[in-house]
C-alpha cells in the first residue's frame, strides 16, 4: 500500500532518529511524545527497500508501542488492547456491539486529525481522520470516551448510542513541544534555558484590544503593563518587564517578525504569538536594545492547505471608569468663602449669590459638573478580515482591519486602517532557498482638542462658571478661555500617522547543517499634524465680548529606521550531543526629520490649510537627527541527551550616541537547564510529568537616552531676540556634555523551575536579580550653571523579584471545560548606589535605598487642633474663633514656612528639633511601582457557551494626586467632594485640613496628597455562544461565534482621583480617565 521504499541501517539508535530518517525518505510525519519513545529504548535496524509498514513493525517489535497511519501521518502510541484500527499485531476484532461516530476539533472548531479515542474501561479505540471524524465501537449503549491528543488536555465525554458527538479539545498550557519564538529563531519550549513568557493569544481574540500592548496586561508574570489612558489612539500600554531598571526609557524592545517596531503598529488580532524574553540570557541576542527585555511578536502566517477566510467584528460603547466626585455650586461657594475667611481675605460670594446658585434658575449662576460637559459615552467599532492558505511552495496570509473609536472626551476620535501581508516562498531543490516578504502598514487618524491640556483641565472647572448665557452663547471663563466653546467651533488637532514597514528575508541552506540568512528591513513613519485654533467669540460677564483669533500649526515628521541583519546558523547532532551555533551581524540606522509652519487669522473655521492664514504672521521651524547602532553577536546552544541544556551568548555593540572611545561595549551571557523528569530516578515519581530547572546570568547594554549626540558640544539654535522690530537668530550653549558617557549595563541572574503535574497543573516559578549598573541618568547640576544637566553613568539600580504562574485545565465528563490561570510577581526596586548626587526633590526623589522616583516629602501626622494652641486671655473660650490669635503651645512641632493654625496639617518632625523644615524633615513616603502585580483568569466552556473572566490587580503602590480637585482652590478648578469633611472648629478632623487660599500651606508635598493606588479590577468578562457547525455548513460557514464583552468592568480601589491605573509620572488631576468598554461581536470562519 505504500509506494515508497525505505533503506535504513542504524545501530543502537533512538526511535526518534529513525523516525526522522523515515520522514526524510517518505515524507510521512510522525506524531509521538518523548515519553513514549523513552519507553522504547534503542533499536537496531537494517532494512533495504522495505515498505513503511515493514519498517515500523520491525522497529516496534517487542516494544510497548503500536502505530497507526492516517493519510501521511504516523501516530505512535501506547500498545493497548487490540483496537479495530490497529494495524500492528491486529487480532481479528471482536464483533462490534454499538457504533457511535463523532468529530474531534480544537477550541476553534478546527478538525483534529490523529486524535486517539478510547472507551473508558472498554476494549475499543479509534483515531480521528483528517476531517476530525471518527467511528468507534462501544461496549454498551452508553459509554465514556477518553479522547487524547498530543499537546491537548485529555478529555472524557459521556456518549450515547446513535448520538454523534463533537469533542473539542483544549490545548495544554505548557505545551512542551510547542516552539517558542526566541532571538533569531525558535526553540522548543522544553529546551528553553532562559525565562520566556508567552501570551495565549486565543484568549485575546475577541477582546476589544485597541492596542496590542494591552494583551500583556496580567498575562505574563513579571510584566507590568499599564494602560496609559483611555484616549483613543494614545491608549497603549506602558510596559515594564521585571521592574524599572533605568531612569530613561524603560520600555522593552519590541520585534514584530524580527523587525524592531512599535507594539501599536501590529493589530492584536494579527498576532500568532507573543514571547516575552525576560532574563538576560534570552534577550541577549538583541543586546544593544534589550536591557529592558524583549517582546517578540510573531504574526500569523499562511499554512499549506485550503484558503481560509476569517471575519470578525465588534461594536462597543465606552464610558469613563470613574470620575472624581466634586462639589456643587453652593458647596463650592460656601467652601470658597470659608477659605477666604481662613486666609483673612474678603469672601467671594455674598449670601445673595449663594442663594442664586441654589435656585438653579439663572444661567449666570449655574451649577455645572464640568466632567459631564467634557466627558461622556463614546462608540467604537472594529472589523477584521483575514485570508490565509498556501501550497507547498508558497504560503500566504493577508490581514486587513479597520477601527473607528470615539473617545470619552469631547472631540476625540481615532480611526485606524491597517494591513499586513506575510508571504513565504520556497525555491530550489529540497526548498533550499526560502524567501519571505512581510509587509505591513497602517494609517491612524487621531482627532482631539487642540489643547488637550485645556480640555482635561477645564473639565475640572468649578461649577460656578457659566458655560452659556441665557441666549445660549458661550461665555468666557474669567474673560479668558472657554475650551468647550473652542472645541465646538473647531479647535481640534488632527494627527495623521502613516506607518509602513517591510522586510525581505532570504535563507539559503549552504550545507545540510549550515544555512545563511540575510534580512533587510525598513520602517517609515510619517506624521502629519494639523492643530487649529478656531476663531471664537465669547461673551464676557460685563457684556463685552472676547474674540480669539484663529491660528494653525502644522508639522510633518519623517521617522525612518533601517535594519540589516546577516546570520549564519549551524546545527549538528551526533550521539547524545546536539549543537546549535549562530553568528550574526546587524546594523540599524535611525533618522528623524521634522518641519513645521504656523499662521494666524484664518479666513474661516473650516478650511484649515496654512495658505489661508495671514501671511504676515507666518513662522516655520525644522529639526533633524540621526543615530546608528552596529553589533556583532554569537550564540551556542548545546544539549546532551535531551536532558542537559546549555547556552552561551556574546555580543559587541557600538552606538553613535556616545563619543569616540566610549562607543563600544561587550556583553556576555550564559544559561543552563536540567530536565530532571527525564532522569531515570524520576520515573517512579508519577505525579510529576515534567520538571525542569533553569539558571542564567548575563549582561546587556542600554544606550537609550533622550539626546542623540551626547558626544558633541552643542550651540542650540532658536535663542532669538529682536532689535528694532527685526528678529535675529541667536545661539547659546544650553547643555553640559559628558563625553565620558558610555553604555548602561543591565546584569541579570535568573533561576527558574517549570513543573507539570499529572492532574493538569503547570507551574513556573522564577527568581531574578537584575542590577543595572552605570545607570544613564541626567544628573542635576547647580542651577547657577544654568545649563541642562548632562547624562552621567550615575549608579546602580536593583530589581529583585520572584514571579510565578500556575495554570490548570480540566475537562469534565459532562463536557464542561475549565481553564484557570494565576500569575503573580513581586518585585523590589531599589537604587543601591549613586555616583552622582541624590535628587531629593518633592514630590519625587532619586535616593539610595529607595525605589526609582519614589515620592518624597513630609509625613502627615494628623491636624493641628485647637488644644495645641493658646490664645488671648489665657485661652478664653468665650473669644470667638475668628478673633483668636493662636500661639502654639511649647513642645508642639512647628512648621518652618508658616505659623501653623488650628486645622493645618501637622507634619512629622523627623530630626526631632521641634521644627519641620525642607532640609531635615522630608523623607521617602511612597513609591510608584507595585509590590505585587497579579492576575487571575478563569474560562469555562460548556456545550455552545463559553465564559471568560479576567481579573488583574496591583498592590503596594501609591499614587500622588494634587493641584486640580485635590488641592483647595487650585486655579479655577473645583474641589473633590471629600473636602466637605474639612477641618472646622465644629468638625475637628484629624485627616482633612481646613481650607485656605494660602499656597504656602496647600502646595506642600506630603503624604496628605499621596494615596493608596492599589486596585483589583475585573479587566475583562466575556460570554460567547458558538452556533452549531452543522447549521452553518449549509451556508458555507465553518464556525460562527457571537459574544458580549465588558472591558474594565469594575474596580475595587481606595483611590479618590480618576482611575487608579495611571501612568507613573501622573501627579496632577487632568488625567484622561480609563474607559469601560462594553462590546458585542462576532467571529466567523469560512
Amino acid at each position: 500500500s505504500f509506494g515508497q521504499k525505505i533503506n535504513l541501517s542504524e545501530k543502537n539508535a533512538s526511535l526518534g532518529n529513525i523516525f526522522k530518517a523515515i520522514k526524510k525518505q517518505t515524507g510521512y510525519t510522525f506524531v509521538y511524545t518523548e515519553s513514549l519513545l523513552k519507553k522504547a529504548g534503542k533499536v537496531d535496524l537494517n532494512v533495504n527497500e522495505a515498505s513503511l509498514e515493514e519498517v515500523l513493525t520491525t522497529c516496534l517489535r517487542n516494544k510497548p508501542l503500536m502505530y497507526s497511519i492516517l493519510n501521511k501521518i504516523v501516530i505512535i502510541k501506547d500498545k493497548e488492547e487490540p483496537a479495530e484500527n490497529n494495524i500492528v499485531n491486529a487480532p481479528p476484532p471482536p464483533p462490534p456491539v454499538v457504533k457511535i461516530s463523532g468529530k474531534i476539533t480544537n477550541e476553534k472548531g478546527e478538525a483534529l486529525a490523529g486524535a486517539s479515542i478510547r472507551e473508558k474501561g472498554g476494549r475499543h479505540s479509534a483515531v480521528s481522520k483528517e476531517d476530525g471524524s471518527f467511528t468507534i465501537s462501544i461496549s454498551g449503549k452508553k459509554a465514556v470516551l477518553i479522547v487524547s491528543y498530543i499537546g491537548y488536555v485529555t478529555s472524557e465525554i459521556a456518549v450515547t448510542e446513535n448520538v454523534p458527538v463533537t469533542v473539542s479539545l483544549v490545548q495544554t498550557n505548557n505545551n512542551l513541544n510547542e516552539f517558542i519564538a526566541i532571538g533569531y529563531g525558535t526553540q522548543k519550549k522544553v529546551n528553553l534555558t532562559g525565562s520566556v513568557g508567552t501570551v495565549n493569544m486565543s484568549d485575546m481574540e475577541d477582546r476589544p484590544l485597541t492596542n496590542a500592548g494591552l494583551a500583556l496586561q496580567g498575562t505574563v508574570s513579571g510584566v507590568y503593563a499599564l494602560q496609559s489612558s483611555g484616549k483613543p489612539g494614545d491608549d497603549g500600554a506602558v510596559i515594564d518587564i521585571r521592574g524599572v531598571g533605568t531612569f530613561g526609557d524603560n520600555s522593552p524592545l519590541v520585534l514584530i517578525d524580527g523587525l524592531p517596531g512599535s507594539i501599536g503598529d501590529v493589530n492584536a488580532n494579527d498576532i500568532q504569538s507573543i514571547s516575552v524574553l525576560k532574563d538576560a540570557a534570552s534577550s541577549s541576542i538583541y543586546g544593544n536594545r534589550a536591557a529592558n527585555g524583549v517582546i517578540l511578536i510573531t504574526t500569523k502566517k499562511g499554512a499549506v492547505g485550503k484558503l481560509k477566510v476569517n471575519y470578525s467584528a465588534y461594536f462597543g460603547v465606552q464610558s469613563p471608569t470613574r470620575l472624581p466626585d466634586v462639589l456643587n455650586s453652593v458647596e463650592y461657594a460656601t467652601l470658597r468663602n470659608e477659605a477666604s475667611a481662613n486666609s483673612g481675605t474678603i469672601p467671594n460670594y455674598t449670601a445673595a449669590d449663594i442663594a442664586k446658585y441654589a435656585a438653579h434658575n439663572n444661567p449666570m449662576y449655574p451649577d455645572i459638573n464640568y466632567f459631564k460637559v467634557y466627558y461622556g459615552n463614546a462608540n467604537m467599532q472594529s472589523h477584521r478580515l483575514s485570508i490565509s492558505g498556501g501550497s507547498e511552495h508558497v504560503q500566504y496570509a493577508f490581514m486587513l482591519g479597520h477601527l473607528d473609536q470615539d473617545g470619552i472626551l469631547v472631540a476625540t476620535n481615532y480611526k485606524k486602517t491597517d494591513f499586513r501581508s506575510n508571504v513565504d516562498a520556497f525555491f530550489l531543490k529540497d526548498k533550499r532557498l526560502r524567501v519571505s516578504a512581510k509587509l505591513a502598514g497602517n494609517l491612524g487618524v487621531k482627532s482631539e482638542p487642540t489643547s488637550m491640556w485645556n480640555a482635561t483641565w477645564y473639565a475640572t472647572l468649578s461649577p460656578v462658571y457659566p458655560l452659556r448665557d441665557s441666549a445660549g452663547r458661550y461665555m468666557s471663563v474669567n474673560g479668558e478661555l472657554n475650551p468647550y466653546a473652542e472645541i465646538m467651533a473647531g479647535s481640534t488637532a488632527i494627527t495623521k500617522r502613516y506607518n509602513f514597514n517591510g522586510q525581505v528575508e532570504a535563507e539559503y541552506k549552504l550545507l545540510k547543517n549550515l544555512s545563511a540568512q540575510i534580512t533587510g528591513g525598513y520602517n517609515v513613519t510619517l506624521s502629519n499634524y494639523n492643530g487649529f485654533n478656531a476663531n471664537v467669540v465669547l461673551q464676557n460677564k460685563d457684556g463685552s465680548t472676547k474674540t480669539e483669533a484663529s491660528d494653525l500649526s502644522v508639522s510633518n515628521g519623517t521617522n525612518i529606521q533601517t535594519l540589516l541583519t546577516g546570520l549564519l546558523k549551524y546545527n549538528k547532532t551526533f550521539g547524545q550531543h546536539d549543537f546549535n551555533i549562530l553568528a550574526g551581524y546587524s546594523e540599524e540606522e535611525f533618522t528623524y526629520d521634522w518641519q513645521s509652519g504656523y499662521r494666524k487669522n484664518f479666513v474661516n473655521n473650516s478650511q484649515r490649510v496654512l495658505s489661508l492664514g495671514d501671511a504676515s504672521t507666518q513662522t516655520n521651524n525644522a529639526g533633524s537627527y540621526d543615530l546608528g547602532l552596529r553589533s556583532l553577536f554569537g550564540r551556542l546552544n548545546y544539549t546532551w541527551g535531551g536532558k542537559y541544556l546549555f547556552e552561551a551568548n556574546i555580543r559587541r555593540d557600538g552606538s553613535s550616541r556616545f563619543a569616540k572611545g566610549h562607543q563600544w561595549g561587550t556583553f556576555p551571557s550564559f544559561s543552563g537547564g536540567w530536565i530532571v523528569s527525564r532522569e531515570n530516578f524520576m520515573k517512579k515519581v508519577d505525579w510529576i510529568n515534567f520538571l525542569k530547572l533553569r539558571a542564567s546570568w548575563g549582561q546587556l547594554g542600554n544606550q537609550n537616552i533622550s539626546t542623540y549626540y551626547n558626544g558633541s558640544d552643542i550651540l542650540s539654535s532658536g535663542r532669538n531676540y529682536s532689535y528694532g522690530g527685526t528678529l535675529y537668530s541667536g545661539v547659546a550653549v544650553t547643555s553640559l556634555t559628558n563625553k565620558e558617557l558610555t553604555w548602561e549595563t543591565a546584569q541579570q541572574l535568573n533561576i527558574g523551575v517549570d513543573v507539570t503535574l499529572k492532574h493538569g497543573f503547570d507551574l513556573t516559578v522564577d527568581f531574578f536579580d537584575k542590577r543595572t549598573k552605570n545607570l544613564l541618568l541626567s544628573r542635576p547640576i547647580p542651577l547657577t550653571m544654568a545649563l541642562s544637566a548632562p547624562y552621567v553613568n550615575a549608579g546602580e539600580v536593583q530589581n529583585k523579584g520572584i514571579e510565578a504562574s500556575l495554570n490548570y485545565r480540566k475537562t469534565f465528563s459532562n463536557g464542561l471545560k475549565l481553564r484557570a490561570g494565576l500569575n503573580v510577581s513581586h518585585i523590589v526596586n531599589k537604587i543601591t548606589r549613586m555616583n552622582a548626587p541624590e535628587q531629593l526633590n518633592s514630590p519625587k526623589a532619586i535616593k539610595v535605598g529607595a525605589a526609582i522616583n519614589s515620592f518624597y516629602g513630609y509625613t502627615m501626622d494628623g491636624i493641628y487642633q485647637i488644644a495645641d494652641f493658646t490664645w488671648q486671655n489665657n485661652s478664653d473660650p468665650s473669644i470667638p474663633y475668628v478673633s483668636r490669635v493662636y500661639t502654639l503651645k511649647p513642645g508642639v512641632t512647628k512648621v518652618s514656612n508658616y505659623n501653623a493654625q488650628p486645622g493645618d496639617i501637622k507634619f512629622k518632625d523627623l530630626n526631632g528639633d521641634g521644627v519641620v523644615d525642607m532640609n531635615n524633615d522630608r523623607a521617602i513616603i511612597g513609591k510608584q511601582f507595585p509590590d505585587i502585580n497579579y492576575a487571575f483568569n478563569f474560562n469555562l466552556q460548556w456545550k455552545s457557551f463559553d465564559l471568560g473572566v479576567f481579573f488583574q490587580g496591583v498592590s503596594g503602590i501609591q499614587g500622588y494626586f494634587y493641584y486640580e480637585i485635590a488641592t483647595p482652590f487650585s486655579g479655577v478648578a473645583n474641589l473633590g467632594s471629600w473636602w466637605k469633611d474639612r477641618w472646622t472648629p465644629a468638625n475637628p478632623s484629624n485627616t482633612m485640613p481646613r481650607v485656605t487660599l494660602d499656597e504656602t500651606r496647600t502646595n506642600i508635598h506630603s503624604t496628605f496628597y499621596m494615596q493608596d493606588a492599589a486596585y483589583l479590577r475585573l479587566k475583562n468578562i466575556e460570554l460567547g455562544y458558538t452556533i452549531s457547525p452543522k447549521m452553518l455548513s449549509k451556508i458555507g460557514i465553518s464556525s460562527f461565534r457571537i459574544y458580549g464583552n465588558i472591558q474594565n468592568a469594575f474596580t475595587i480601589s481606595k483611590f479618590k482621583g480618576f482611575d487608579p491605573e495611571q501612568t507613573i509620572d501622573q501627579t496632577r488631576a487632568e488625567a484622561f480617565p480609563q474607559a469601560r468598554i462594553m462590546t458585542i461581536g462576532l467571529n466567523a470562519n469560512f
Binding site: 480669539e548 552643542i714 550651540l715 547659546a732 553640559l736 482652590f969
Partner: protein, 499 residues
C-alpha cells in the same frame, strides 16, 4: 555604512567651529539677549507689581501672592524663576566672553563692542541678584562641573564686579543705535544701571554722578505724552534707555494681555495705590482743601491715575468696567498702563517692556542727592521735570521751598510710586527703602456697591480690607536661595535669615 557610528548634530551648531565671522559672533550675542525675556510668569514685570503695595493678585497659585504677603519660602516660584533667569544670562555671557576671545577673524572694534554688551548683560543680571538675594555666587567664567558647587560671595564683592563690568561697558558702548540695532545696550544704559545699583547699595555720591553722566549724554528726553509712552505706536522713543524688545515672531511670553483678561494672573490695583495719586492741584486727597470727593473720586486727579489704572466705571476698550461682575477683581480696579485693550489677538503681544527710562534718571539722581543730604534746588528741579510732563504743579508751588531731607524723601518716594505704577519696579524700590510701613493690608473697593450697570452715579465707593499683608521681620528684606538649588548644592547654605 561607514558613517554609521560617526554622527554629529545635524540641526545644531558646534561651539568649537563657531565664532568664525562677525555674523556668527552676533548670533551668540543675541543668545544672551534672548535670556533677558521673562522665563516664567513670576519674572514678568506685572507680577512684581502685585507683589508690591500697588497691586494684588487674588489667585494663590502663581507664587506672587506668597511674595506679596511676605510669606515667601524656599519653594516659592518667584525666587526660583528669578534665580534661574539671572544665572542663565550670566552663564551665556561668560560662555560668550570666553569664546569670542578666540574669534580671530573679527575686527577689534566690533569685538570690543560685543564684549561690552555681554559685560553689561552680566552686570544687569548680578544687579538683580544682589538686590533680591543679597550674597550670591559670583561666577565670571565658564565652570567645569567640578567647579560648579559654588559658595555665596559677599554682596560687596559682587557689587565691585558689577561696577567693573558696567564701567567697562560704558567706556566702549555707543550712545545710540539706529534701525534694526535699536534695543542693543547703549552707553546710557550702562550708566543708568550703574546709578541704580549704586543707589541700591547706598553709594549716594557715585549714584548721583552716574545719573548725571546719563543726563550729560544729552540723548534722552521725557516723552511728552505719558500715556503713549507705554504703547506700541510710540516704542523706542527718546525716553527709553533700555527695554526688552519684541516683534511679530518673538512676542511677549505670558503677554501683558493678562491685564485685559480676568484670569488667574489677574492684576488688581489697590485702593492704596489709587489714593496715592494727588489731585490735579498737587494736593493729596487726604488734604481737606484738595477738593476730593470720595463719592466721585476720579475727577481732577493726577492724569497718571487714569493712564495707569482702569478705575471702576471707566471704559476699557469698548466695555465699561463694572467690578461686581468679576470675582477676580476683589480690589475693584485693574491696570491700564501696558494693557492693550481692544487688541485682536490676546495671546501675542509685541509691545516692548521698558526696563529703564529717562524719568528714572531724574528721580534716581534726586534720590541720591537727598540721601546724601543735598536738599538743593536741583532736587526740586529734577522732580519737577517729571511732574511737569503730566501737567502736575511743581513741588515748590505746592509744598514750598526749603524742605528738609525727610520731607524731600517723602516727596521723592511718592513721585516714584505714581510715576512708575504698574511697571514692576515698586517692589525693588521697597526692598531698597526697607520701609516696613509699606507692607500693609490690601484695601480695595467693596465691589458689591459697584454693581449697578446703569452707571457709577448710583454707586457707593467704600474701601474695605481685601487681604492681610504682614511684614515678616524674621525673613527681612531678602528672598531665599531657591530650595531646588540647595537640594543640589549644599554649599549655598546657610540660606538667608528666616528661611
Amino acid at each position: 555604512s561607514k558613517g554609521l557610528l560617526n554622527k554629529t548634530p545635524k540641526d545644531q551648531l558646534s561651539p568649537a567651529t563657531f565664532y568664525q565671522s562677525e555674523a556668527q559672533c552676533k548670533m551668540a550675542l543675541v543668545g544672551i539677549y534672548n535670556a533677558i525675556q521673562p522665563n516664567a510668569t513670576p519674572t514678568h514685570f506685572y507680577q512684581f507689581e502685585f507683589m508690591s503695595d500697588n497691586g494684588y493678585c487674588q489667585a494663590a497659585w502663581q507664587g506672587s501672592n506668597e511674595v506679596g504677603s511676605w510669606s515667601t519660602n524656599t519653594t516659592s516660584w518667584a525666587p526660583y524663576a528669578k534665580w534661574t533667569q539671572d544665572y542663565t544670562i550670566i552663564s551665556r555671557a561668560n560662555e560668550f566672553l570666553q569664546d569670542i576671545a578666540t574669534a580671530a577673524s573679527v575686527g577689534a572694534a566690533v569685538k570690543d563692542q560685543m564684549v561690552a554688551e555681554a559685560k553689561f548683560l552680566r552686570a544687569y543680571a548680578y544687579s538683580d541678584l544682589i538686590t533680591y538675594f543679597g550674597d550670591v555666587p559670583l561666577i565670571t567664567k565658564v565652570l567645569s562641573l567640578s567647579e560648579a558647587y559654588v559658595k555665596r560671595t559677599p554682596k560687596a564683592t559682587v557689587l565691585t564686579q558689577i561696577l567693573t563690568d558696567l564701567t567697562d561697558a560704558a567706556s566702549v558702548l555707543p550712545v545710540s543705535y539706529t534701525g534694526s540695532n535699536i534695543g542693543r545696550v547703549t552707553k546710557g544704559a550702562a550708566l543708568a544701571y550703574k546709578a541704580k545699583i549704586l543707589l541700591h547699595n547706598q553709594k549716594w555720591a557715585d549714584a548721583a554722578q552716574a545719573a548725571k553722566d546719563v543726563i550729560d549724554l544729552s540723548v534722552y528726553d521725557l516723552y511728552p505724552n505719558y500715556a503713549d509712552l507705554f504703547t506700541e505706536a510710540h516704542e523706542n522713543n527718546q525716553e527709553v534707555i533700555f527695554d526688552i524688545q519684541y516683534t511679530t515672531s518673538q512676542t511677549q511670553p505670558w503677554p501683558t494681555e493678562a491685564f485685559v483678561l480676568g484670569t488667574w494672573q489677574t492684576s488688581n490695583m489697590t485702593a492704596d495705590f489709587i489714593n496715592s495719586f494727588y489731585m490735579k492741584n498737587g494736593k493729596p486727597i487726604t488734604d481737606a482743601s484738595s477738593g476730593y470727593n470720595d463719592q466721585n473720586p476720579y475727577v481732577n486727579r493726577d492724569p497718571r491715575l487714569d493712564a495707569t489704572v482702569v478705575l471702576p466705571g471707566t471704559k476699557y476698550g469698548t466695555a465699561t468696567f463694572i467690578p461686581a461682575s468679576y470675582a477676580e477683581y476683589p480690589c475693584g480696579a485693574k491696570p491700564r498702563k501696558y494693557a492693550e485693550y481692544g487688541t485682536a489677538d490676546v495671546n501675542t503681544s509685541t509691545l516692548n517692556t521698558i526696563l529703564m527710562r529717562y524719568a528714572d534718571i531724574y528721580l534716581m539722581r534726586a534720590e541720591a542727592l537727598i540721601e546724601s543730604g543735598n536738599t538743593s534746588q536741583e532736587v526740586y528741579t529734577l522732580i519737577d521735570k517729571v511732574r511737569a510732563r503730566v501737567g502736575m504743579p511743581s513741588v515748590e508751588s505746592v509744598e514750598g521751598t526749603g524742605l528738609n531731607q525727610s520731607q524731600l524723601r517723602d516727596i521723592l518716594r511718592h513721585e516714584r510710586k505714581v510715576e512708575f505704577g504698574v511697571e514692576g519696579t515698586r517692589y525693588a524700590d521697597i526692598l531698597r527703602w526697607q520701609d516696613v510701613s509699606l507692607v500693609h493690608d490690601v484695601y480695595g473697593y467693596d465691589k458689591s456697591l459697584l454693581s449697578d450697570p446703569s452707571g457709577s452715579a448710583t454707586w457707593t465707593f467704600k474701601q474695605i480690607k481685601i487681604a492681610p499683608r504682614v511684614f515678616n521681620a524674621a525673613k527681612g528684606w531678602l528672598w531665599p536661595i531657591p530650595q531646588a538649588d540647595i537640594d543640589i548644592n549644599k554649599n549655598l547654605l546657610p540660606n538667608n535669615p528666616g528661611y
